[in-house]
Assembly symmetry: C2
Homo-oligomer: 376 residues x 2
C-alpha cells in the first residue's frame, strides 16, 4: 500500500516511538498516584514529556502543557473553558468540525455571537474582513493553523495581532501544524495551542493536548481524581491538574515523548523542507493533467494536496486509487463543511493526498501516473 | 519490585496485549475515516472490540459500546449527559472523585438535589436509607460497583431494583469491577456501565468506555469530527458517534481487545477466584498482626485490602514498604473523601494493597512479613 493519508494519521511511526510504548507498558504505573518506583517512573516520563513539548513549541510553562486524548478533546476543553454566556466569538470558514460543532453548540446553549471570517475560492481567509468584525466586544478567536482540506497555512501572527488589539484571546487548532512545521507559540502570539500526537508528531493515537499560556484561564472540562487535594469538592485549580482528571495515558505519552526526540534529531525544519519539496513536486506534476482541479493557495502550504478529477465523485476516485493502484487517500468532506461550501465542492467533496517525512518520490510518481490514467 | 498497587493500574500486561498495540501502531490508519486498507483495518479492530466488550459484559448492543480515554471520562460523559437542571440525584459515600466532583459541579451549576447514601464504619452502604430517599423525584442514581478504597462490592442488583422502581436510571462506576469479576450488566440491571481499560482488564492506559443501554439518552459531551454527516451542525445523533468525537485511540483499543481475549482464555471467574484466594490469604494473615486495622467488609470483596498500622501516617508506612522492602502500595486518600470520613480515616488515610491475577503468594508473604516488622 502507498499511504498518502498522513493528514488523517501518520501510518509509519518511528521504531523508537513503538519501543517507548512497549517499554512503558512493561514498567510504568499510574502517574502522580502514590510514590513507589512504578508510579514515579510514569510521573517522570509524563513530566519529561511536558518539558520536551514546551521546548518544542517554544512555550514557557511546562506545567501548562495539558495532555488530552486528541486534538478534538483539546479544542473542546479550550473552547468550552474560555467562552462565556453571550460572548462574541470569531472563527473562520477553514475550521474543522472539532472547532465548528463545539461553537455551534455554544451558539445554542450560551447564546454566543458567533461570526465567521470568509474564505475565498482558494480557501484563503479574508483578513481585512476579520479586522473589520474583530471589535472590542470580541472575547475569543478560534482559528486553525493549517486547513486539513486545502493545506493552506493561515497567517496566525497577523490574526493574533488583530485579536490581541481588541483584548481577545486566540485559540489555535494545530492539528495539522504540530510536527510538520516550526511552531513557535510565543512568536506567533498564541494563547492556547491545541495539538494531536498521532499526525505530524508521529506519536501514538490517544495522545495530544493543549498549551495554555500563563495567565489564561480555562475552566475544567472533565472533573475527577487528581491524586492531590482529595477533600476539595472542586477540581484542583492549578494546571495541569485542573484540566487532567483521571489516569493519564502515560503509555501513549511515553511514545509521544520519543516521537518528539525523533523529530528533534532530524530537525522540524528539515522535515518541513522535505515535505514541502514532495508537495511541490506532486503539485507541479498533477496540475499539468487535463481535467484535474487542485484546491488551495500554494504560496504557504503544508503537505496536503486536495483535488478533483473532472466531475467524478471524490469517493469513486479515492476508491479507484485504493482498489486499482493500492494508493490510500481520503475523499469526501473531511469534516470541513464551511470550506467545502467556500470552494464550491459541497457535493463532490475532494480527494486529499497528504504526505509525511517518510513518503518517497516513487510513491508520488505512482500516484501521479494513476491520476493520469483516471483522468484520461 | 513487588507491585501491590493493581487497583491504580495493573503493571503487568499480558504479552499479547503489548503485541497487539505494536501491530496496531505498525498497520492501523484512522478508524472510520475513509475506506482504504489502513483505515478499514483500524475500523475492523475497533468494531471487533465493541462486539467483544459487549459480549464480555453480556450487553446487547455493540454500537452502544462507547470508547473513552478512561473511566473518569466515561463517568463525566454519563453524569453530564443524563442529569438535567434541578434533577434529584442519589449517589453514595463510597464514590471516587470521578463521580463526586462532576456531581458537586452540577449541584452548583444545575441546581441538582444531590443526596448521598451513607456508608458505615466498614464502608457498607445503608440500603434501607437508600430505599427511603429514593422516591419518584429521583432521576439518576450513580454508584460504584467496587470501592477503590475498601474493595467492598456494592449490591448493584438491589440498588438497581430500587432505582428502577421509581423510574430512575442507574449509572455504575465499574473502574474496579471490569475484568476482576463477572459483570453481567443485564442481570445486574445497569443502565450505563463505565469502565477503564488499564486496571482489571489488563489493557493499555488511554482506554476505557461506557455501555449505554438501548433507549437511554446521553447527551454529547465532546463535539467534533465524526467522519460522517459533515454538514450537520450538531454532533450526529446515533451511538457510538454521538459520544465519540475525534480520532479514536485505535492503537490502545487493539490492546484492550487482546486483553479481553486473554481474560476470556483464563475465564473471568477463574481470575476472580484466584484474586479472592490471594485476598483471603493476605487478610487472614494480616488481621493477626497486633496494631493493624483493616477496613472493609470481607463478605463480598475484591482484591483490595486497605489498612493502617497503629496511628502511623499511611504515607510513611507506604514509603517504608517501598524503600525498605521494595513493595509498591498506595497510601493517602485514594480520591475517596466521603468514605475516609465514614471510616474515620480522613487524616490518617490508609495503605492500600491491591492484587492482580499475576500476584503470587510469595509476594504476599513478603508484604505480610514487612507489615509484621513495621507494626512491631
Amino acid at each position: 500500500m502507498i499511504y498518502l493519508d498522513n493528514a488523517a494519521t501518520t501510518l509509519k511511526k518511528p521504531d523508537q516511538v513503538i519501543d517507548a510504548v512497549v517499554n512503558a507498558m512493561r514498567t510504568q504505573g499510574n502517574a502522580s498516584r502514590g510514590a513507589h518506583n512504578a508510579t514515579l517512573s510514569a510521573s517522570r516520563v509524563v513530566y519529561d514529556a511536558r518539558v520536551k513539548i514546551a521546548k518544542f513549541f517554544n512555550f514557557d510553562t511546562p506545567s501548562n502543557v495539558i495532555f488530552a486524548c486528541n486534538s478534538t478533546e483539546a479544542l473542546n476543553i479550550a473552547i468550552n473553558g474560555t467562552i462565556k454566556e453571550g460572548d462574541k466569538v470569531i472563527s473562520t470558514d477553514t475550521e474543522h468540525n472539532s472547532v465548528l460543532r463545539p461553537l455551534y453548540h455554544l451558539q445554542k446553549t450560551k447564546n454566543i455571537d458567533l461570526q465567521f471570517v470568509n474564505a475565498d475560492l482558494s480557501g484563503v481567509l479574508d483578513l481585512n474582513q476579520f479586522e473589520r468584525i474583530c471589535d472590542n466586544k470580541t472575547k475569543v478567536v478560534v482559528v486553525n493553523h493549517i486547513s486539513n482540506l486545502t493545506g493552506n497555512v493561515n497567517d496566525i501572527k497577523t490574526i493574533s495581532k488583530i485579536a490581541h488589539n481588541v483584548g481577545a484571546i486566540l485559540i489555535v487548532d494545530g492539528s495539522q501544524s504540530a510536527g510538520t512545521m516550526l511552531v513557535d507559540v510565543k512568536d506567533l502570539g498564541i494563547d492556547i495551542y491545541c495539538f494531536t500526537g498521532h499526525k505530524g508528531l508521529f506519536g501514538p493515537q490517544g495522545t495530544g493536548g493543549l498549551l495554555v499560556k500563563e495567565g489564561v484561564e480555562v475552566e475544567a472540562f472533565k472533573r475527577g481524581g487528581s491524586g492531590v487535594k482529595t477533600y476539595e469538592e472542586d477540581q484542583p485549580n492549578e494546571y495541569p491538574t485542573r484540566l487532567e482528571a483521571g489516569t493519564l495515558n502515560s503509555h501513549g505519552i511515553a511514545g509521544l515523548s520519543a516521537a518528539i526526540d525523533f523529530i528533534n534529531e532530524i530537525g522540524v525544519e528539515n522535515i518541513h523542507k522535505k515535505e514541502r519539496e514532495l508537495t511541490e513536486y506532486f503539485y507541479n506534476e498533477v496540475i499539468k493533467i487535463e481535467g484535474i482541479k487542485i484546491y488551495g493557495d500554494f504560496s504557504s502550504h503544508a503537505a496536503i494536496v486536495s483535488l478533483n478529477v473532472k466531475d467524478y465523485d471524490s469517493g469513486e476516485v479515492s476508491d479507484a486509487l485504493s482498489n486499482d493502484y493500492g494508493i490510500a487517500t481520503r475523499p469526501g468532506a473531511h469534516c470541513a463543511p464551511r470550506l467545502h461550501i467556500a470552494l464550491g465542492t459541497k457535493y463532490q467533496g475532494a480527494v486529499r493526498f497528504s504526505f509525511s517525512y517518510f513518503t518517497t518520490k516513487e510513491e508520488l510518481d505512482a500516484a501521479i501516473n494513476a491520476l493520469k490514467v483516471i483522468a484520461s
